[in-house]
Symmetry: D2
Subunit: 400 residues, 4 copies
């Protein structure tokens, strides 16, 4: 509804062109190259080429709201761009806008010391290394972050980290340089002051990758999600982020934009699915007519468009509110978007798969992979149930 | 998302206050007065009082975009106000913003001759008379307007109207002065040129009210929806609107804003329902705790808020697009809103009824009446199936 | 699945015939007669004629499983018959199988003293009087029956009843002879022993009918649901049912069959709706073809059939389990049916209304009235939320 | 509802025991062995051990209704067993009851010549070889089987087969001995007489496996679904099944039981998911309480149970009707089950994944793999849209 600034509009046009020219045509090349590597955990060369091109064109780090580090777009503006990137699973990285790097960079920008920034933020901004965020633990319900049990204990000039983490996204990527690890620095403190976040170089002794975790059969190579054990890992005390006991505070700040990004990418994936659906419907003939000429299929298309539009507006509205009142002020709006966008995306992609028949569940279209991706969004960054509870509580509170 | 103008914001504040001060407190008085009248088809005096007060405060004819006749708000702006009026079933009339008068006034403003305006528009704008729109016929599927069979035949200086109409909303209201009747003036013309619309004074000989039609048991008195037979009704040729064969054109123009109004009122009804739901949840104790303290109820509240927000944004977005590109340019957006807003409204009101238990289906809350009202919106002004088909078709076309 | 006994099959055939011959053709006569009575709370003569005919044909009291009082059908068998009766809102009474009489007769059969039976059961079995069940109170969440606050206090040879009840179904019916009232006889007893049920002649001094409660816009005349105040009503001590403090026990026993009946009637209503839907689809032409020839409408029909079949099988399965293991053993199955059958019925009827367009929400078809009826079933005899909770608990328990 | 025969009940008990004792405990061993093989398309030894054990215990070929070849259970009876096998993805094969072998064996039993039976049925019955069914083609909408374009042309004593097929399930399995291929033997014949089915030894020259097709990210090794090209493959004329032009007839006969099996396995998968869900809910603590103690989770459990029960009854009812009236007589019932069971299974498994959080989408539970499997069922053996259309048509026809 709200008009885009000329700058954002310009980015949008160029991004769409870039997608058409470089991303879509190279999706299958990316897969091919990956399949030809010796290991699944190596980077297909085309990715570095795409990154160079994107950087050249200034389509780089677009997510960063701080003018010092990026184009300084609002969340509302970047939301539009993020939806375009979300159309392809290989796009976000190409623009240096992939999770969890985006969140990690934001944390470093907001809370990093100059030294931390120099060492880790600079290469991340440059796309030279990648990063990991290690919070979740298999042993405890991690959607309730107070459950996190890993320990980060001060020992002289160092901190000693012991934690069994999993779902550390991107941890299989050979380029990972740094991890942000959450754990308890003081189990006796007030509940929300027990946790800290600390920077752990990924080649530090004691960082052990146990295994990768597939998502619906996908290994998500070459990034992958890993179970990572931090065994007596020692890092300098200066690697602490923001200060002991401030892990929650950081987590909080991190989540607002990250959720919007997830949502907008999910919407982009749905848009792509709807495009593909319509294309297929226009070419496939069954029982005497083109699928596109059947009212039943038109209803499927219409419901898809309706779901996308609602999710898009809801998410953009949350982004806009966050721009105006901060992540805290937009808490309810963000939670709603976080519920709706994955639902809509799943529903639309599912419909597209259905219209593709057998082809839809295979790898001949990007649909199944996008679906699996979107399915995880109902779990990560707060499972639906937790957001619903929050929204309900906020509604009741507003009326008191 | 889009900021409201100061003017619109001011109307909004005053409207909210008016609702609190005059409308809600008089809902039951309205019912009581109605129950005490000799007939169901007489006007409770409180309504005329409310109208006077609203007019006094300038909260009058707010729907009119033309500065000459009203405040000149955009559809986007009026949408916000309309949602507020929709919270009470007696509110729209109090502000002279009730259907079908709004649509009829618009038609007269846009297409009326000076004479037609003087005779019919002026008293309508003034709230002195009410009006009827007679298109639908029991004999044919009227969602396909080409089916309409009533006849409007030129005979010298007059037109002779013969038609069996039903669902003429408001036709039971003793104040009705004028009807706009649709029918075929030339059954041999091209399909979309066969129909005309004509002005029929409601006291003209041959206008026969056969019966009223209840909606889920409600008589919607004192307005009511009536089966109206036009038996050889004669009107001067100057009562023709816009010109013979232009009935479709008028219908088209009429529908854009009307649909937005319906949607926004439905959303307002949902907002009211959610308020009531929360209030009840906060006061009712079952199985040991307040309903408001049960996560199951919080999920109901959260889902309600989510449905409302999505419908609201979608409808406002359609209104905004209509402001910018006209009803035709916003055709898809309007169709989407027309699908979503009634659905959301029905779903939220239904949830509220459920949380109220037995009270929810009775007349002790406005919920059941609002629900019945909202249910008709999935049928009037284009049944869901017709809109879905359109949206599907437009999506496919955009990709060609 | 399970074959019907010859006896049940014979009842079924005769019942279907009776419906075709006498019930459907007299539905509108019933309405007409009612509209012509001086008051809405008088009995249209056609009803007594229908009752006579049904009794003559032995289609009477079919719900009673005890051979002494009725045909002795199983719940599974009667379920099939009940679905047929549910197709018309005037049918259950015609066969003396209407609520709340059925439940009240069951209570008297199971727990009544010979004297109570003679006085109240006999005329009920005969269809001479009707009865009321007064449990729910406006002041408290009555889905949690421990909340009930009315008092039934022993005073010498009498009990004194003070209670503000509402939703006493049938209480407006001039033929009502007796009410079963629930209330606390000992507020200090263990939670589930505080309540008693007692027989209150409806003409006893102190029985005050405050008002009737509409359901959506329906008054459900001539039966009606009433707010009834019991003001110091005195009845002989021998009117106590089963014994002081055994109200819960009775309520429990009452609920199993009652819920199955509600469900099967709701399914019958859905079957009727689907019949009407198909009929309409076969005769109505829109946008160039019969509705029945549109795949979109066929999907609506298919989904309706699917919903009905599932609800039917689930309910019959519950009835069968109840036949074998009693209401307690079939608790989970009954709860499931109680959730599903109203949902399915509402959904199917709603679809039928949609396909009827405007006619669907009016009184020109029985659809809207059936829908309003079915909507209350998600609230009465345990709201959905309470049943879901129970089912969840039972599932978890079974696994321990 | 219908009681199981003693024989079927006995099989059921033994099957449940076998699952507990041998299947579940070896699921991960199967995966491990597979991961250690040199290729994904080799058989983990544990499978042959399981097969031996099952055969020993007489839990073998249970699906065969003909007493000559199997235990002679009805479809209703076998349905119960099939649901148990469906709980594990490795179970069906272990009992020689896996698709597409079951369907292929049925075809051979019903339509095979003695020679065909000896050569292909015998080793299949014995579990020595596996088989393939090649109908679907990427180039055409194969849900409309008249579209199939592959050719089966008589040339002297032989048939020459040319066809590009895909989704030939199990085609990657090294043990495959035979394929049933569908194609046109006479493109000029009446539409439903053009197609034939023919037996093609899988080592025949010209049988070319182009690639395997993943389902979501699963390769379904070691069986796999393959794109298979039949390039001028020559087989003796005696390999024709039933006769030229009778391909449709065979397809028809094949589908009834096959759909029921798919449905019952899907229901079994859902039952397993619900078991796992409850287990997890009982052990996981979030936000202060066990998940099992949250009403929100109990509702999830209840809705799951409700969905399973409805799907189970509907499918068993279809099986029973098929037992009594054949696949044709039960056509509507089968179509309904085919719609409902996959839906229910997907919904329940999805809920279970959600309650497992991150673990749910990984391979640490069988949930994600079961979900992907169930998703294909809305496409194979008739996509939902085709079944809905059929049901709608049958409903309309019944009323004429
Ligand atoms: C693909 C993927 C990528 C991920 N990437 C990362 C990463 O990079 N770094 C990282 O640290 N983590 C990551 N995660 C982990 C993710 O953040 C967690 O899975 C998520 O926080 C949920 O935690 P959990 O899995 O322990 O689920 P649990 O906390 O055990 O919750 C399980 C379920 O319980 C239910 N539940 C929980 N609370 C309530 C409640 N109050 N009321 C009702 N129901 C409730 C919900 O249904 C919930 O889904 C990733 C996960 C996935 C799947
Ligand atoms: C409360 C209320 C107030 C009303 N007020 C007015 C008024 O003031 N003036 C007036 O003229 N009319 C009024 N109407 C009438 C209303 O506009 C019509 O009911 C509506 O246009 C539908 O026409 P119909 O009832 O003839 O339904 P039909 O045209 O018979 O359509 C019935 C159903 O058929 C199905 N259908 C139709 N076309 C298709 C398709 N292409 N594909 C698939 N399915 C399809 C849809 O499910 C549709 O709901 C009112 C109606 C109601 C209920
Ligand atoms: C048409 C009709 C006929 C009736 N006939 C009779 C009759 O003849 N005799 C009679 O005695 N009564 C009758 N009733 C009353 C009916 O039994 C009650 O309405 C019903 O028991 C619910 O009680 P309540 O209305 O007090 O709702 P409440 O108990 O206030 O419950 C309201 C809502 O709260 C929610 N809720 C309650 N408990 C929980 C929980 N544990 N977790 C989550 N949510 C919860 C549910 O959404 C529920 O719907 C009738 C009602 C109607 C509508
Ligand atoms: C895991 C898996 C295993 C399989 N195994 C085998 C096997 O062993 N052997 C074999 O031969 N095949 C197999 N198949 C193929 C399967 O049978 C086909 O995918 C299926 O028949 C659909 O055909 P299609 O993919 O060509 O889809 P299409 O025919 O192109 O249909 C695609 C979609 O179009 C829509 N559609 C079609 N008709 C209509 C209509 N009338 N109205 C409205 N919408 C319509 C539906 O949404 C449908 O899903 C398998 C498929 C999968 C996914």
């Amino acid at each position: 509804m709200l008009a885009l600034s000329a700058q954002a509009q310009d980015f949008k046009t160029r991004l769409i062109n870039f997608m058409e020219e470089y991303i879509y045509p190279n999706e299958s090349l990316y897969e091919e190259q990956l399949n030809q590597m010796e290991t699944r955990w190596a980077i297909p060369p085309i990715m570095e080429e795409l990154k160079s091109k994107a950087k050249e064109q200034g389509l780089w780090n677009l997510f960063i709201p701080q003018k010092e580090y990026g184009p300084g777009l609002t969340n509302y503006e970047y939301g539009h761009l993020c939806a375009i990137m979300g159309r392809s699973l290989i796009a976000p990285e190409a623009f240096n806008c992939g999770a969890p790097d985006t969140g990690n960079m934001e944390v470093l920008i907001k809370y990093g010391t100059p030294e931390q920034k120099e060492k880790w933020l600079a290469p991340l901004l440059n796309g030279e290394i990648r990063s990991v965020f290690s919070m979740t633990e298999p042993a405890v319900a991690s959607s309730d972050a107070t459950n996190i049990e890993g320990s980060i204990i001060r020992d002289g000039d160092e901190y000693v980290i012991n934690a069994r983490k999993w779902w550390s996204s991107g941890a299989m990527d050979p380029r990972v340089g740094i991890a942000i690890v959450m754990g308890k620095s003081d189990p006796t403190a007030e509940k929300h002051k027990q946790q800290s976040m600390i920077l752990v170089p990924f080649d530090a002794p004691g960082v052990e990758i146990k295994r990768y975790l597939p998502v619906f059969g996908y290994d998500h190579a070459p990034h992958g999600h890993a179970e990572v054990h931090y065994n007596n890992v020692r890092v300098p005390a200066s690697n602490m982020l923001l200060g002991e006991g401030r892990g929650f505070e950081i987590a909080q700040g991190r989540l607002g934009p990250g959720r919007i990004h997830h949502c907008m990418r999910a919407i982009g994936a749905a848009e792509r699915a709807l495009d593909l659906l319509c294309e297929r419907a226009n070419s496939r003939v069954a029982f005497g007519t083109k699928l596109a000429d059947k009212d039943v299929i038109r209803e499927i298309i219409a419901e898809s468009r309706i779901e996308i539009e609602q999710a898009r507006l809801l998410t953009l509205n949350a982004a806009h509110k966050m721009d105006q009142e901060g992540a805290k002020g937009a808490r309810k709006e963000i939670a709603m978007a976080k519920i709706v966008a994955p639902r809509a995306s799943l529903s639309v992609i599912d419909k597209a798969m259905q219209v593709f028949g057998g082809a839809g569940v295979s790898e001949d279209t990007p649909l199944a992979a996008h679906w699996a991706n979107a399915r995880t969004l109902r779990i990560v960054d707060g499972p639906d149930q937790v957001h619903l509870r929050d929204i309900g509580r906020l509604e009741l509170r507003e009326r008191q």
